[in-house]
Symmetry: C2
Subunit: 203 residues, 2 copies
C-alpha cells in the first residue's frame, strides 16, 4: 500500500517520520525523493535525497521514471517509481513524504493510496514552531504561514488529518491509521471472493 | 459517530461486542434494537432488546421512530432513533449491530457512518463454529451457510472487513478502526476552516 504524508511546514513531519521508522521500521519503506537542489550540511545522497542535476532530472521525467514531480522556487523534486514499486511488491507499505500537488498526482495513479495531512494543533502553535527554530527571518515565516494557508485549501482531498499535538501520540495514531487501511474492503476483495465461493460449495 | 457492525452468523460478533464494551465501554454506546420476537432465556428487555408487539412496532414505523428496520422470518427488528441521536449529541460513538440491509439504510441516512463487517478467517472455520454450538441441526447450519454466502455479496459496500481470527486482536483492531475515523477529513472540516482563517490573519 502507498501512504502519502504531507503537512504544513513546521507541523513536525520530519520528527514524526523519524520516530515512525524507529518504532515501526520493519512495516514501512520510506521513499527517497530525487531533487535538483544542493545537499544541505549533513544530508546524504541516497538517504535524504537522490541529488541529481537538471539534465538527469529531465531525463527521469522523459523516461517516465517518476511517479510525480514538482518544482519549488528553482528546484525540482520527484518520486522515483522503481523503488516504490519494488517495495510494494515485497509487501511493505511505502511512505511518500511529499507536497500536496504531488499527493494529488499519486491519488490519480493509485486511487487506493491513503493520504494523511499533518498539522499542528493551531496556527499559533505553527508560528511558534517556525519562530523557535530561530533560523528563519520574519519574512520567511510570514511566507510559510501564507503558503500553509494556501495548502489548507487542498487538504479536503486528503483521507485523514493528523493533529500533531504530541509526538508519541501522533506516531502511534499514524501507525494505527496505516495498519487499519489493510482492513479496507478494497484490500479484501480476493478474500471475500474466496470465502463466498467456499460457502457455496462446502459440504 | 455512527458505527455499524454486521457479520456472518457464527463470525463471533456477539463475543466481540461484549469484549469491546468491557474494555472500551466509556467510548461507546451500544444501540439496543426493538424486536417483535419473543425473548430467549436470559435475555433482558431494554438491555438485549426492546421487546414489543407487532402493533407497537408498526406504530414505531408509522411515527418514524426507527432509523431502519427489517423483517426476518416472522419477526421485525429495528433501531430506535431517539437513543442513537441522544448518545451522538453526548459525543459518544454509537454502535449498531445490525444486518446488511439495515446497514445500507443507515449509510443512506448517515453517509459518514462507518460500516464494519466481521467474518471468520474461512468458510470452514465458520462451519466449525456453527457446528460447535451443538444447538443447531444440519439443516439450520446449511441454511446459515447459504445466507452467509448471500450476505457476502453486499459486503463490498462496507468500509472495513474484520477477519476475526483472535478475539483479543479483533477487539483491539475494531477499537482502533473506530478511533481512526475521528481523523477523517470529513470529521475535521471545522478545524481546517479555523486554522486556515487563523493562518491568514495571525500577525
Amino acid at each position: 500500500m502507498l501512504v502519502v504524508i504531507s503537512g504544513f511546514s513546521g507541523a513536525g513531519k520530519g520528527t514524526l517520520m523519524k520516530r515512525l521508522m524507529a518504532e515501526y521500521g520493519d512495516h514501512y519503506a520510506l521513499s527517497v525523493s530525487a531533487t535538483t537542489r544542493a545537499p544541505r550540511p549533513g544530508e546524504t545522497d541516497g538517504k535524504d535525497y537522490f541529488f541529481v542535476d537538471k539534465t538527469r532530472f529531465q531525463e527521469m521525467i522523459d523516461r517516465d521514471e517518476l511517479l510525480e514531480y514538482a518544482r519549488y522556487v528553482d528546484n525540482y523534486y520527484g518520486t522515483p517509481r522503481s523503488y516504490v514499486e519494488e517495495q510494494m511488491k515485497n509487501g511493505r507499505d511505502v511512505i511518500l513524504e511529499i507536497e500536496i500537488q504531488g499527493a494529488m498526482r499519486i491519488k490519480g495513479q493509485y486511487p487506493e493510496a491513503v493520504l494523511i495531512f499533518v498539522t499542528p494543533p493551531s496556527a499559533k502553535e505553527l508560528k511558534r514552531r517556525l519562530t523557535d527554530r530561530g533560523t528563519e527571518s520574519e519574512e520567511v515565516i510570514r511566507k510559510r504561514m501564507n503558503r500553509a494557508a494556501d495548502e489548507a485549501i487542498g487538504v479536503e482531498a486528503y483521507d485523514y488529518i493528523l493533529i500533531n499535538d504530541s509526538i508519541e501520540r501522533s506516531t502511534d495514531l499514524l501507525h494505527k491509521a496505516i495498519q487499519i487501511q489493510h482492513m479496507r474492503v478494497s484490500q479484501r476483495l480476493q478474500f471475500l471472493y474466496e470465502i463466498n465461493k467456499e460457502l457455496r460449495t462446502l459440504e
